[in-house]
């Protein structure tokens, strides 16, 4: 398939990626012409089609949101039972749309019941609890007379239920619904909500550091995906007019997962393709069914080992290559967060060529997030120990707006721990952190971020499957007001803010001389550039305070100068900067105040001039027994 598409030469950008859905759509519509269009056959196709909607739903939660709600068939069953029970007891006038709505509501509630407790604990429990629910629901239904026990509920036997749609019309409507669901998932992924999903998926710390509410966002991913699985339940019972415990087994959940893996999680069309392959084999090669498990198992194993990101990711990579060859730097595409390891570092030769001359005059970045008054960020007697080792011991520190505060100290002296305490990745054992009179130390880290405290990480945390630009956008979106629904559904304000966020993110990257790598995927960027992208993301929040953790490590001299310039510019704009650096000369040349930590304790605090004169600091931290005059 790849080969054909390559030879066909399908235009420059996104050629393969757009070909796949087009072929898929045509295929779905003409299936009855190829495979026979008897009522029975159509019913079978429609069954597969409603399963495809579950695959799309699962992809939203798992592929993009990173929430392993593996037993999504439980939610599907809940939606289906709700819809079929309503139809059974109120048969008159209930059509496809009401059934889907009922399914969505019931599915959403079911998803929340599974998700709420499991999410409190964390990732793997959701997989466990949902899988167990997928096992339990059919087993319970089997014994429960109200839902028809073992035999299920046959809707066709209910007098008064007269579906308006049937035959090819119904088939086409169902295909349209699958496409609509897919389109929705695309719109979602490319909205501010989707950006948050991807950020959260790639790293929870990253996400909360730019103000994303982790718990709420995870729950939203589960809710959206369960509601959609519930809709699939409604579609299923309308088209099949039947639901029984056997219609959703835990084995079926496994099949869906197989489809997702083979097609490629975290791509729009991958799960559809994979599920069509798997369900197609399962449904239509019945003579062969006894051996299906082996076929699936081997396929799944082979994909997990040799093509862990699935078919679509493969096609995307190929597409990227085509795109790069034809039109450099125009290959923007949505992230496949799970798929991309951060450790692949490109050729060192690229790093020299990457940083363009940044904007001669950096634009002003006055704070937008945070309080209007100029209160400083105060760390008061901060203390934290880990298993007997006191990492931060009674440290006081004040970050004043409009000033640069340098924080130096040897490895393990507690600098990064202090930063993690401020941004609330660690809790304080004792002490306080506040801005003005607002306490921060009892807030979760996303609240700290939204209070106007941005940060970078010692080893850059980026969404490595996304482009540099996409990495910065969610930080901008944090402070542009717009509801998620408006952004997903592309309502006027949604379109406006989506564009504005993208434009502003681009502007900041441009100011840092990163215009030409904006559309490059983050895992293809050299280390130095990754740091700069992270700094850009922190600036994009337009914070009142910015905490930079060794931003200059591994940078070239030119980039180093840029970082210094950026810090000074932020201070000029009225931002309080905390700069952790090993490069002491750089810190001394730009900082207003310097704090030196040693073994968790504050060894020194004062101006750079005072530090240079302080022999104790020079000997203990720098290991050089002479004052630093000579070096700066």
């Amino acid at each position: 398939m790849n080969g054909i598409a390559t030879r066909l030469d399908l235009g420059s950008r996104g050629s393969l990626r757009w070909m796949v859905p087009v072929v898929l759509i045509i295929l779905l519509f003409i299936v009855p012409q190829i495979g026979g269009g008897s009522a029975f056959r159509l019913g079978e196709y429609e069954e597969v089609l409603s399963f495809l909607v579950i695959a799309v739903a699962l992809n939203i939660a798992m592929g993009y949101g990173g929430q392993y709600i593996l037993g999504i068939t439980a939610v599907f069953a809940v939606g289906a039972y709700a819809a079929i029970l309503c139809a059974k007891y109120h048969p008159a006038g209930i059509g496809l749309v009401p059934m889907c709505i009922i399914g969505a509501v019931a599915g959403g509630i079911g998803g929340l019941i599974i998700g709420l407790p499991a999410l409190r604990v964390g990732g793997f429990y959701l997989a466990l609890v949902s899988l167990f629910a997928a096992l339990a629901i059919p087993t319970v239904a089997q014994e429960w007379g109200f839902v028809g026990a073992d035999t299920g509920i046959p809707l066709y036997a209910v007098s008064g239920f007269a579906p308006k749609l049937s035959g090819e019309v119904l088939y086409i409507i169902v295909v349209a619904m699958v496409l609509l669901a897919t389109l929705f998932s695309w719109a979602l992924v490319h909205s501010r909500v989707g950006h948050r999903f991807v950020a959260l998926h790639s790293s929870e710390q990253l996400a909360t550091s730019i103000g994303i509410r982790a718990y709420r966002t995870k729950l939203l991913a589960i809710l959206i995906s369960s509601a959609m699985a519930g809709i699939a339940g409604g579609m299923y019972v309308y088209t099949q007019q039947f639901f029984a415990p056997g219609s959703s087994s835990v084995q079926f959940a496994v099949l869906l997962l197989a489809g997702m893996t083979i097609g490629g999680m975290g791509t729009i069309t991958g799960p559809l393709i994979g599920s069509i392959i798997i369900l197609g084999i399962n449904q239509f090669f019945t003579s062969f069914q006894q051996y299906n498990g082996i076929v699936f198992g081997v396929l799944l194993l082979a994909f997990a080992i040799f093509l862990p990101n699935g078919l679509m990711a493969r096609i995307n990579v190929l597409n990227e290559r085509l795109g790069i060859r034809r039109a450099p730097g125009t290959g923007a595409r949505p992230g496949t967060p799970a798929a991309v390891p951060a450790t692949v570092v490109p050729e060192p030769t690229a790093s020299t060529a990457v940083t363009e001359k940044p904007a001669a005059q950096l634009p002003s970045w006055p704070p937008v997030l945070g309080s209007a008054e100029e209160s400083p960020l105060v760390v008061d007697g901060a203390k934290r120990s880990f298993g007997g080792v006191t990492a931060v011991d009674d440290v006081d520190l004040t970050i004043v707006r409009g000033q640069i505060h340098g924080l130096i100290g040897s490895n393990g002296s507690g600098k990064t721990t202090l930063l993690n305490l401020i941004s609330r990745f660690y809790t304080l054992d004792a002490g306080q952190i506040r801005i003005g009179s607002t306490r921060l130390d009892n807030q979760p880290s996303d609240v700290v971020a939204r209070a106007g405290v941005a940060r970078t990480f010692q080893s850059p945390k980026l969404m490595f499957g996304s482009t540099a630009l996409q990495n910065v956008i969610p930080a901008v979106e944090l402070r542009i007001r717009c509801s998620g629904a408006e952004s997903i559904l592309r309502l006027p304000r949604g379109i406006r803010t989506n564009r504005a966020a993208s434009a502003e993110a681009a502007e900041i990257l441009e100011a840092l001389g990163l215009r030409h790598v904006m559309d490059r995927q983050a895992n293809l960027l050299p280390h130095g550039t990754r740091r700069l992208v992270e700094v850009a993301r922190a600036i994009a929040m337009r914070p009142s305070f910015i905490l930079l953790d060794e931003p200059a490590a591994g940078l070239s001299p030119v980039e180093l100068e840029l970082i210094a310039e950026v810090c000074q510019n932020l201070a000029r704009s009225g931002v309080g900067v905390l700069l952790i650096e090993h490069n002491v000369p750089m810190v001394l040349s730009i900082a207003d105040t310097v704090t030196c930590l040693h073994q968790g304790k504050r060894l020194f605090q004062g101006t750079p001039a005072e530090l240079r004169a302080d022999a104790a600091v020079a000997s203990v931290f720098l290991g050089i027994d002479e004052p630093l005059e000579a070096s700066s």
Partner: protein, 294 residues
């Protein structure tokens, strides 16, 4: 009261099987940091073997046990080679191992159903016969007592193994930091292979004691696997005693649900148990929180 006690003992027996599965999860997890989804199916394979040996071929019990061990350990080793090693050799990215072990479980299940068919497996005579012993005025089947005893012995043996032997200590070391372990000359691949041998052994024992207790069909692997996992989650990851307690708790909860609520909805007991435990102690009854994160 008699009813209660009968249910209690039955619960402890079934719970012992869950505990054994949880123990084999822990053995694998302790040296590879993955959960072997196919663990339940490995046990199911053992149950089938014991059916063939005892019911069809009329082999003696001891020989049967040896055959079960041979078969289960072999499958376990095959799994390690094809579905696990590709993932433990490199830093774990994503859930590839999950999909791979799931795939392997699918293959085991399919092969088993081809060999045996879909019918339930007939319960097999227990190793200690079908006799009973009177405890607190209740007749307790010897097969129940065997299950319980085997689990306790396995747990104690594992504790000694991890504490007192070179290999056991090395396993704990490898799980914690593969790189440092390698610097000390510990072959991580060999260690994970060994973990699969031991886990296979524990699973084989589970199969041997469960075969007389429950009638099963070839699809129960996933169910038992999940229940073992619930025992693990309730007891707390990484703790051997947690596995045992979690397993017993689940078994007893199921029987009590059976007795006082409804036998039809027994399966809900596990769901309720895990939700309650997670709500009260998110790291499980015996779980400890990680000391320091990055």
């Amino acid at each position: 009261m008699t009813l209660f006690l009968t249910a209690l003992f039955a619960g402890l027996a079934v719970g012992s099987v869950y505990g054994l599965i949880a123990l084999s999860y822990t053995v694998v997890f302790n040296s590879t940091a993955i959960f072997n989804v196919a663990q339940g199916d490995l046990m199911m394979a053992g149950v089938l073997v014991s059916y063939f040996c005892l019911d069809r071929w009329h082999l003696p019990q001891l020989l049967t046990l040896l055959v079960i061990i041979a078969v289960v350990v072999t499958i376990s080793l095959i799994e390690e080679r094809v579905a696990v090693r590709p993932f433990v050799a490199k830093p774990v990215v994503g859930l590839g191992w999950f999909i791979a072990t799931l795939a392997f479980s699918l293959i085991i299940e399919t092969v088993a159903s081809i060999i045996y068919g879909q019918n339930p497996v007939v319960p097999i005579p227990g190793a200690l016969g079908n006799g009973t012993v009177s405890i607190a005025g209740v007749h307790v089947a010897t097969k129940f007592i065997l299950a319980f005893a085997v689990m306790i012995v396995v747990m104690l043996a594992l504790e000694v193994f991890y504490k007192r032997t070179w290999l056991g200590t090395a396993m704990r070391g490898v799980a914690e930091d593969r790189e440092v372990a390698a610097l000390r000359g510990i072959d991580a691949l060999r260690i994970s292979r060994l973990a699969f041998v031991i886990a296979g052994l524990v699973t084989a024992l589970a199969a041997f004691v469960v075969a007389p207790i429950v009638s099963a069909d070839v699809t129960v692997g996933l169910t038992y696997g999940l229940k073992g996992f619930i025992a693990l989650a309730a007891g707390g990851f990484g703790s051997l005693r947690g596995c045992v307690i979690g397993g017993l708790l689940l078994g007893v909860a199921e029987q009590m649900f059976d007795l006082y609520v409804s036998s039809n909805y027994e399966i809900l007991a596990g769901l309720i148990l895990v939700l309650i435990v997670l709500a009260i102690r998110p790291s499980g009854l015996f779980g400890t929180r990680a000391v320091r994160q990055v």
